[in-house]
Symmetry: C2
Subunit: 298 residues, 2 copies
């Protein structure tokens, strides 16, 4: 079946004209949600996708991501976990596109990983429903990585980490990252993973705030080279994220990681230290397959 | 005995003319180490303290803090822990002031809290030696809080945390702090301490990176008010720092906390949750007493 798919996140607008599993056409722009004012979403959509809309007068138009947030086109309320692609397909929020044509915003998910605690996602649910697994653990690296537990094709619970944004803060806005130099020495990543072990496993957990200052102390005393510092911070945070994920979710034999090759290779390296295998899945393929999975339930 | 004491940190220059335990005169300026170019330290010192130097031709001149770092006046090498005020007094680094007059820079301390790990301090050692305890645990809140173990008047080991700088990054430079509003609702601090419990104690430790994102999720879902968000982040980080400290140092019945009243009250509240009492000590008094403690050993 054919459909138009818009992945509209905070910083990017990406659209796809899809037939079955094949992307026929794709486009992207910097007009993410944060760059679009209230009331302008329809115009931005039509400017980019108006031609497809006319050329394909009957295909569904699916919108995924922050487009459904309070700051987006229209608020698509969160659905609580556990939930599956059928529940999500029944909870799409309509927006008016042109004349009688409607678009359908995929809702985000929320869950309560512990009493009183709350977690949210918008967009990743679609990739997970397209990850090609019915039982297992899915990791989506990025600015705010998600770890998602899937049972019988449904998302039972998930946890979000601050890893990517934290890396940016430490590397570019803090005193810890100041001595960092490029080109980078990638061996720093392994040293960072090693340091993260001091905050995981069975032994004492000395605290991430101490390990972060430790990167600074190691740099000023010359134990860590300026070239290794950036990768060290990345390894430390990645390792601590995985420590946390495996304290929430039972450690599996393998994790499906949806991301680009370079980032997934780093996650795979970190997982290998824990004896866990990473299976990579292409984000665009997962996104398209996730929408198909939902549309098949309608 | 009389002495001139300069506490020269990254962002401030503070000087004291002291007699016994009494500060006779004090001055301060924004000319911290980060604002002073190489070769200019002597001039800055003389401009501020030249009159005292002439009026007190025989008293020792002691310099404490980042003035002894690589970016300071002259590098005063770190002394390894365990170390006491006698060792520190024997390891002062001289700088030429005017004619034959010398100044004495107090060295920083380093320690190896775990094999391969390193930690450093500059300035806090002096406050700890003036904290009036011979055995116990000392906490110095701030941008980079220190927890310091004292045995028989010597510093055996210590650990630094990134808490204060992290608060600034999250509150003012990240997506987590963006919804925060003032005036603040101080009850957020207790909620943050409560959340930190999920990453400490005997149970599962789900990871600080997850809890930080959790503050964002709680704010966007309306579970945490914008007014409570800033104090919540502060409580979360303070609680996690204390979790870490009590995994490194045996939890005592009381902790000596050197800091201003407002900050110490927050630390005391966090410690009380763990059944630990906070005893406050005034930073300036501790600084002066620490120098006296060293001078008494010369």
């Amino acid at each position: 079946m054919r459909f138009i798919l818009v992945d509209w996140g905070t910083s990017r607008f990406r659209a796809f004209l899809v037939d079955g599993e094949t992307v026929l056409e794709r486009l992207s722009s910097e007009e993410g949600i944060s760059a679009v004012k209230e009331g302008q979403h329809r115009d931005v959509f039509l400017r980019h996708c108006g031609t497809w809309l006319e050329g394909e007068p009957a295909v569904p138009v699916m919108l995924v991501g922050m487009v459904g947030s309070r700051e987006g086109w229209t608020m698509a309320p969160y659905i609580a976990c556990p939930t599956g692609p059928d529940d999500v397909a029944r909870a799409l929020t309509e927006v008016a596109l042109k004349e009688e044509r409607k678009g359908h915003i995929v809702p985000g998910l929320c869950c309560e990983p512990a009493p009183g605690a709350v977690d949210v996602m918008r967009g990743e649910e679609t990739l997970v429903f397209g990850a090609g697994i019915t039982d297992g653990l899915v990791c989506l690296p990025g600015t705010h990585p998600k770890w998602v537990e899937v049972r019988e094709g449904r998302i039972t619970r998930f946890a979000t980490y601050f890893t990517g944004e934290m890396y940016g803060l430490l590397r570019h806005h803090s005193m810890v990252g100041r001595p960092a130099a490029e080109p980078e020495d990638p061996s720093g990543f392994d040293e960072g993973l090693e340091a993260a072990e001091r905050n995981g496993g069975e032994g004492r957990r000395i605290g991430l705030l101490h390990l972060i200052f430790g990167a600074r102390a190691a740099a000023v005393t010359g134990r860590l080279s300026p070239a290794a510092l950036g990768p060290y911070i990345s390894g430390l945070l990645t390792g601590d994220e995985i420590n946390g994920a495996f304290s929430i979710f039972p450690k599996p034999r393998e994790v499906t990681v949806i991301g680009d090759e370079k980032r997934v290779a780093l996650v795979a390296k970190a997982l290998a230290r824990k004896g866990v295998r990473a299976v990579r899945r292409e984000p665009e393929q997962a996104l398209v397959a996730g929408i198909q999975n939902m549309l098949a339930r309608l």
